[in-house]
Symmetry: C2
Subunit: 145 residues, 2 copies
DNA sequence: AGTCTTTAAATCGTGTACGATATAATCGTA
DNA sequence: TACGATTATATCGTACACGATTTAAAGACT
């Protein structure tokens, strides 16, 4: 009943993330974005503004991770951080014009990633559906304790 | 051609890792192990000793990540770090008796993880095979630049 | 209005990740 | 056998992650 690295699915999930990360990195470097920062940008290209916790809900992260990262993105001129006038607890994150313009590069980056997988769109959708089922189960197990 | 977070497979891979990590964490806490440290232990239960770079090959990591972590594990009394007498460049990592005894807890942890996925062994194997194909493709794409 | 609870960010400490570089041991070859 | 190239770790700086705690604003209820 000894676990073997060869058999451990978690190691493959870990490796898959590393691999995807390494494809993204050189594509994002010209934009001055890290992988996680790119995911924040994608969220903001969809809806702007977003509060810190709305971004957190999309990425599964909390303010302890997001606050420092968002400050770096603000310092880089990608976003602005402003207290919500209607609820001073919230901080609204918005794209700067420079951040918004990066949107133009996103389509090509997505195309590169799709191509890197070597799979058709239909195959990727099937795989994603399977993966999401797994995530749902594992999250339920984690919540049950 | 706008990417949407809803459609991004990379975000699901990211979420899958988070979810798996969160199942492992409470299981490993009684042993005083982090997730990554557990993966090192599994490697050493299979083969002992391993050099730093042999561990790195198994986990896709290099000395810049491993050296500090292995020092923490040494400080925790889980492993020993000794220069290889036959090649003084190499550092051999071995389990301490305490580290070796943790092996006993591993079977149950694996069982919990399998159960958390809510899938049969056959389903997991099929999924793993699919995932590994994807990883291979993505790695090739990253190496080609 | 005054107080209790809840909520949203921020802060702090520890532990990964990883590019770039440094150091020392070994190897290859003239 | 000397010496440039290669290999194995280590170090440094920056950027995530996340548990635990803090702070301040908003809501709820007397």
């Amino acid at each position: 009943m000894q676990p073997l690295l060869q058999h451990m699915l978690c190691l493959d999930l870990y490796a898959a993330n590393q691999a995807v990360h390494r494809v993204y990195k050189p594509l994002l470097a010209p934009l001055g974005l890290t992988y996680l920062q790119y995911l924040v940008m994608v969220g903001l290209w969809e809806k702007d503004p977003l509060s810190v916790s709305e971004i957190g809900a999309r990425l599964g992260l909390e303010s302890n991770t997001l606050t420092p990262m968002l400050k770096r993105m603000e310092a880089a001129g990608l976003i602005t951080r402003r207290r919500d006038p209607g609820d001073e607890r919230r901080v609204n994150i918005s794209l700067t014009p420079e951040g918004d313009e990066m949107r133009a590069a996103a389509g090509e980056i997505q195309r590169c990633l799709m191509e890197a997988t070597g799979r058709s769109e239909a195959e990727l959708l099937r795989f994603q559906e399977d993966l999401r089922g797994l995530i749902g189960n594992v999250r339920r197990a984690a919540d049950d304790g």
